[in-house]
């Protein structure tokens, strides 16, 4: 359309130029010629002709432009009619051209409005879905500026409000994440895992490149999954290790006996004793593992009754006296009679025995272990204090895990299975209580366990 108009304009200009050139030649000739008067007449005629030609060309151009415009308008009308269907097309034939165009425009505007509204609805729906998604989503453009973030991303990556439009590196300074973007822009998705700075949150991220050079990052918190994986693999490794040691001893001793020592009863005795000791250890380990698995499955039966904490403590102290005396450790207690609590007597004894036994094991010869009780918030809290080396803070969170050992070699040497505290924790919680550890200053440990307090039994 525009080309047609410019073409006619060019031809008009060309003609005007040709006529003016002709006039100039005539003027030139006239000046050279002798008859000036005749010359002037000729000039006038030529100028008139030129003016007329110019007028005609201008008129022609205008008509051409107007034709082009109406053609354009007709095209708009036609396209509007096509999109609005034949019913409107039939009516528009009766209306004047301008009115028809105006009608088409208003219909087009209406259509556009509907389309925009449905697009906005679509966009809002998409935004709501994105916002509600559990995985964190961050999109960046080709210059690594953030274009979209959802709620989970703001929480997981600690993004402040107003990060959209800012470079990602200013919001999250995690090198692994940026390496991921570099790898992803090589036209293939990339995954990686990193720890969020200043936290222990483990994050796994997937970066997918977009055709426009941007990248979409989808990230998830995998801290809990990694923790469970570690516990599971530690568990398998620990069970195998704990079983392997006594089995190796049993096999070696049995071999020695079979190789001839069996014939000399006196020499054989220590080997048989070791066999017995290690078989016993395996039996204990297996029994404890079964206990733990029953507790975890919730199939461990407890019989709750009202027990005097004083009696409980005395029973436990009686059981450890031999070991304590052997190391010259004083076990003293400040537990008055008549402190009643609800507990399964056997389970409570197992817990307390474990805590006191550990305290004696880890206290240096000549040291002191103290057992006390107090009542707070309707619970009886039994504390076992020792003045041993204490537990370094980095281990504290994990000491109640199965097989977790602060000092593996030393605790195994002392005959522990690595399950004691874990079982104690399960038992305490099954009775509705808690168990915990506190560092004792300047040195030593305090392990405590709580039981629900109970009124004195009527017949007691």
């Amino acid at each position: 359309m525009r080309r047609t108009r410019s073409k006619s304009l060019y031809s008009a200009l060309a003609i005007v130029a040709a006529v003016e050139l002709l006039a100039a030649i005539v003027i030139d000739r006239a000046q050279v010629g002798a008859a000036a008067e005749t010359g002037r007449g000729t000039i006038r005629v030529v100028l008139l002709v030129a003016a007329a030609v110019q007028l005609a060309v201008v008129a022609w151009t205008i008509v051409g432009a107007s034709r082009a415009a109406s053609a354009a308008m007709r095209a708009v009308v036609l396209s509007a009619q096509r999109s609005l269907g034949p019913r409107v097309a039939a009516r528009s034939n009766d209306e004047s051209e301008i009115a028809g165009i105006a009608g088409s425009f208003s219909r087009l505007a209406g259509e556009l409005d509907t389309a925009l509204r449905s697009l906005a609805e679509e966009r809002n729906r998409f935004a709501a879905v994105l916002e509600a998604m559990a995985p964190a989503v961050v999109a960046v453009d080709d210059e690594r500026r953030i274009t979209t973030v959802n709620r989970s991303a703001r929480i997981l990556l600690g993004l402040a409000d107003g990060v959209v439009g800012r470079p990602l590196i200013e919001a999250v300074r995690v090198p692994t994440l940026h390496e991921l973007l570099d790898r992803a822009t090589a036209r293939a998705p990339a995954t990686g895992e990193f720890t969020m700075p200043g936290t222990h949150r483990q994050v796994q991220a997937l970066a997918t490149p977009e055709p426009n050079g941007g990248v979409v990052l989808v990230a998830e918190d995998v801290t809990e999954i990694r923790r469970l994986e570690r516990i599971r693999s530690d568990f398998v490794a620990n069970v195998s290790h704990e079983l392997r040691t006594p089995i190796a001893v049993i096999r070696a001793n049995a071999e020695t006996l079979l190789d001839g020592v069996l014939e000399e009863p006196e020499a054989a005795r220590p080997f048989v004793e070791a066999l017995y000791r290690h078989a016993d250890r395996i039996a204990r380990l297996v029994a404890e593992l079964l206990d733990i698995s029953r507790m975890e499955a919730g199939r461990y039966e407890l019989e709750l009754e009202t027990v005097d904490v004083h009696d409980l403590v005395e029973d436990v102290v009686a059981a450890v006296t031999e070991d304590a005396d052997h190391k010259d450790i004083t076990v003293d207690r400040t537990v008055p009679e008549g402190v009643w609590a609800r507990m399964d007597a056997k389970a409570a004894e197992q817990i307390l025995f474990n805590l006191v036994d550990n305290a004696i094991k880890y206290t240096q010869a000549g040291g002191r272990v103290h057992i006390g009780v107090n009542t707070e918030n309707g619970a009886r809290r039994v504390e076992v204090r020792d003045d041993g080396p204490g537990i370094d803070p980095q281990h504290v969170a994990r000491i109640f895990e199965r097989f977790y050992r602060v000092d593996a070699g030393r605790s195994r040497e002392m005959g522990g299975t690595g399950l004691g505290l874990s079982i104690a924790k399960h038992l305490a919680e099954a009775m509705g209580g808690h168990i915990g550890y506190e560092a004792r200053l300047p040195r030593g440990s305090v392990f405590w366990v709580t039981f629900a307090s109970a009124p004195a039994p009527r017949d007691g």
Partner: protein, 225 residues
């Protein structure tokens, strides 16, 4: 002209990006060195030591970027402050990375012997130092001088912690001479953490200079002069 201005802006943005990436790497190294020490994780310690090469390379590259901008663009006012600041920041960041490497090397040494006798305050010190570096860089990102001032004030906290740790360790050396070897290692770690805090303070001072145009280094000397 417009084209030149845009390229210049891009160069400044790229410098900023490289600087932040290097800072992120250093922050990661501090966190990892602390974890390697506590968990006696030799593998993590070695991987962290390897990261030092990346940080060293970043230092050289950023220095080059700064020199190129200075030579080609002759920046003025805040741009000039930013470019010179970047050159100084990389030096402090690189020093912090070196100290993290020292801690990792010590973590490897300590993992060989008996369980580490560590002062309970050392993990806490690591956390504070980590947060100081993070906040110093955050104050740079957000152009916030109050945040930078907060970093400078936290340095006193670290100094106090260091003196407490030092006193305690000395006391334990006296009472338990068998542990002297290990306790000396623990003391070195505390000293390096304290130096990291000093470098973080330098970073914060540079940010204050960039934001407010005010030099807050060596306040005593300046007052005297």
């Amino acid at each position: 002209m417009e084209h030149t201005a845009r390229t210049y802006e891009q160069e400044l943005a790229a410098l900023r990006q490289s600087l932040l990436l290097m800072a992120g790497r250093v922050e990661e190294m501090i966190a990892r060195s602390g974890r390697a020490l506590v968990d006696r994780d030799v593998d993590l310690a070695q991987k962290t030591i390897e990261l030092d090469r990346v940080v060293n390379r970043a230092e050289v590259e950023i220095d080059e970027m700064c020199l190129l901008i200075l030579a080609k663009r002759q920046p003025t006012a805040s741009d000039l402050r930013f470019v010179t600041l970047a050159m100084k920041m990389v030096t402090d960041l690189e020093r912090i990375a070196d100290l993290a490497v020292n801690i990792c090397e010590r973590a490897i040494d300590l993992s060989r012997g008996a369980p580490v006798v560590m002062h309970p305050e050392i993990p806490r010190m690591t956390e504070v130092v980590e947060s100081m570096v993070k906040d110093a860089i955050d104050s740079f990102v957000t152009n916030s001088s109050p945040k930078a001032w907060a970093v400078i004030h936290r340095d006193d906290e670290v100094d106090e912690m260091y003196h407490r740790v030092f006193g305690d360790l000395l006391e334990r050396m006296r009472t338990d001479p068998a542990l002297v070897h290990q306790l000396i290692h623990a003391q070195s770690v505390a000293k390096w953490l304290e130096r990291m805090a000093d470098h973080s303070t330098n970073l914060a001072e540079l940010v204050i200079f960039m934001v407010d145009g005010r030099d807050v280094r060596h306040p005593g000397k300046r007052a005297a002069g």
